[in-house]
Amino acid sequence: MREIRYREALREALMEEMERDGTVFLMGEEVGHYEGAYKVSQGLLAQFGEQRVIDTPIAEAGFAGIGVGAAMTGLRPIIEFMTWNFSFVAFDQIISNAAKIHQMSGGKLTCPMVFRGPNGAAKQVAAQHSHSVDPFYTNIPGLYVVMPATPRDAKGLLKTSIRNDDPVVFLEGETLYNLKGEVPEEDEDELIPLGVARVAREGDGCTVVAWGRPFHNAMEAAEILAKDGIELEVVDPRTLRPLDTDAIVRSVKKTNRCVVVHEHWPYGGPGAEIVDVVQREAFDYLDAPVERVAAWDVPMPYASNLEELVLPTTERVLEAVRAVSYR
């Protein structure tokens, strides 16, 4: 299989879906002439023109709302947030409008749209630019929340999200855009279903549930622990809402141990939700309390040595696995 970067995989998904369906358009800050703050939309303006690749003023609430109205009336908008940190000024559009319109209208209107952009900490961008927003949006019925960790998942899940008839919050990894990985050939049109987890590595020693950037810490930890004779089973939910709890529970019943790894803060969120499901549905199978590896419960500091302390690391995954394995 060929290898491409995460950003290229996303770009291919956008290109293919825009070619396939004329109602799909991309709107956001710097998506057109500048070709994207992270170059995801490079080449799109040249191919599709200003009618479908639309630069906006700095007005997230405004263009997110435009997306909702366009989706309600028959288009399939893709709204790019330069980063998800800036989605907070559009919170009302996502939560009060996009997530509610189908229900409020008695099921008569739909809102087929994608909000997408980079999520999570980058490198030393400090308190206001380092949010992992997954806990905020997974709390909202009416939204899908997708968070791909690999180029293949990025492409296949984005294509499915664009075709989905409900609003999707699509959380890309800000530090993953350069990541290379295997992706099927362009003509394969792979659609990865929303709400289906992927078992990225099989093992019987301990289940590690991880998504986004820390998924790669989990995979690295699995390599290291294999040398110690501990075989990790790494499960990437990929979609955080709806959550494929069956896949997680199935794995825990096999390994009898579970560590949940995520970049979002430890208070609540999908991390806590997964622990709740595991204790409820696999209580009798657990040989140890479920552990979590999360960002520290603080605003992100600027200095690199401090940032390294706050974010989940491979070392902390190793510690957690050893703790639940009593080794």
Partner: protein, 350 residues
């Protein structure tokens, strides 16, 4: 001119329908048949009807939570409106929306939105779609003067002006943002000045004469349809009831209210009909017909089936879902289905 009088009579009938609907809604609220908030349109009827008369059927209309009058003017049947207020399945949003979230997709009445300023960019999005597809529709977005101070208003107008979207923004200035008069919320009294900054034509006039409203709004609609961009219109009006029925109107004087009631739009139109030669007897007959229509709406809503439990889950998502609903983890008391597709899928697989 007979045809002109017929037109005015139809307008009066619609306005009176809205008026009587709201009065019966107030009664239903007092009788606890209606819950939540109830924001009445009484005093503003000429705007809903006049604006609608300037629109085509294909055009989109967005309104705030004070939405009953606009929906009825658009053609929603009072019985489906009343059934919504009563929380019934026959309601225009099947009992899921309530007073603040009326929808009538067939008549292009696209809500009923209850966060101040939150629907303005959404309406601009509907207009964006019209520009994108070239479907020739115009969108009208109503809001109150209180909305002109919040960010959603400014971002919505900013983008609509920038992209010359086919939309007309109609500010129903009923003088009070809940209980606060405009002089205490806005640095300027001419609200069209706010739209000037977004490159938009501004208009302002009084809203008690239904045909004047229609005639003053029509050029803006035409301009939008010709692709010449949006217009901001401030219409001076007054609500005769409180902000909502749970908010008593102690912030204004009885004298002010009585003065404004001299320009009661229903009474003004009724007088215009008399001036055009209709007799009091004929008008009483019209009023009685409207009363009957509203009585029927109440009877219909009373007798209608309650909102359906299965809609609680099935309307959250339009798509079938894979994965397991989060709710299962939080416990679901009697083992009912959640309505999520995973349940349906399990049943299919069984």
């Amino acid at each position: 001119m007979a045809s002109g009088r017929d037109e005015l009579l139809r307008q009066y009938r619609q306005m009176q329908t809205i008026r009587r609907f709201e009065e019966e809604a107030a009664r239903g609220y007092a009788q606890a048949k209606i819950g939540g908030f109830l924001h009445l349109y009484i005093g503003q009827e000429a705007i809903a009807v006049g604006v609608n008369d300037a629109l085509e059927e294909q055009d989109y209309v967005f309104q705030t939570y004070r939405d009953h009058g606009t929906a009825i003017a658009r053609g929603m049947e009072p019985k489906h409106a009343m059934a919504e207020l009563f929380g019934k399945d026959a309601g225009c949003a099947r009992g899921l929306g309530g007073s603040m979230h009326f929808f009538d997709v067939e008549r292009n009445f696209l809500g009923g939105w209850a966060i101040i300023g939150g629907h303005i960019a959404v309406a601009a999005g509907a207009a964006f779609k019209s520009k994108y597809t070239g479907d020739g529709r115009v969108t009208v977005c109503f809001f109150g003067e209180g909305s002109t101070n919040i960010g959603g208003f400014h971002e919505g107008l900013s983008l609509a002006g920038l992209w010359k979207l086919p939309i007309v923004f109609i500010c129903e200035n009923n003088q009070y943002a809940m209980g606060t008069p405009m002089k205490r919320t806005s640095a300027i009294s001419d609200l069209t000045l706010k739209a000037q900054g977004y490159g938009m034509v501004g208009e302002r006039f009084d809203g008690h004469d239904v045909q004047l409203v229609r005639d003053r709004v029509k050029p803006a609609i035409d301009r939008a349809r010709r692709g010449e961009g949006p217009t901001f219109i401030e219409i001076n009006t007054y609500r005769f009831r409180g902000h909502s029925l749970s908010a008593p109107a102690k912030y204004r004087t009885r004298q002010e209210l009585e003065e404004r009631k001299r320009l009661d739009p229903c009474a003004v139109t009724r007088q215009q009909l008399k001036d055009a030669g209709m007799s009091e007897d004929e008008l009483v007959k019209v009023d009685a017909e409207v009363d009957e229509l509203i009585d029927e709406a109440v009877a219909f809503a009373d007798a209608a089936e309650p909102a359906k439990e299965e809609l609680v889950f099935s309307t959250v998502y339009a798509t079938r879902q894979h994965g397991t609903p989060t709710l299962r983890a939080t416990g679901y008391p009697d083992g009912r289905e959640t309505g999520h597709a995973s349940d349906a899928a399990k049943q299919e697989n069984a």
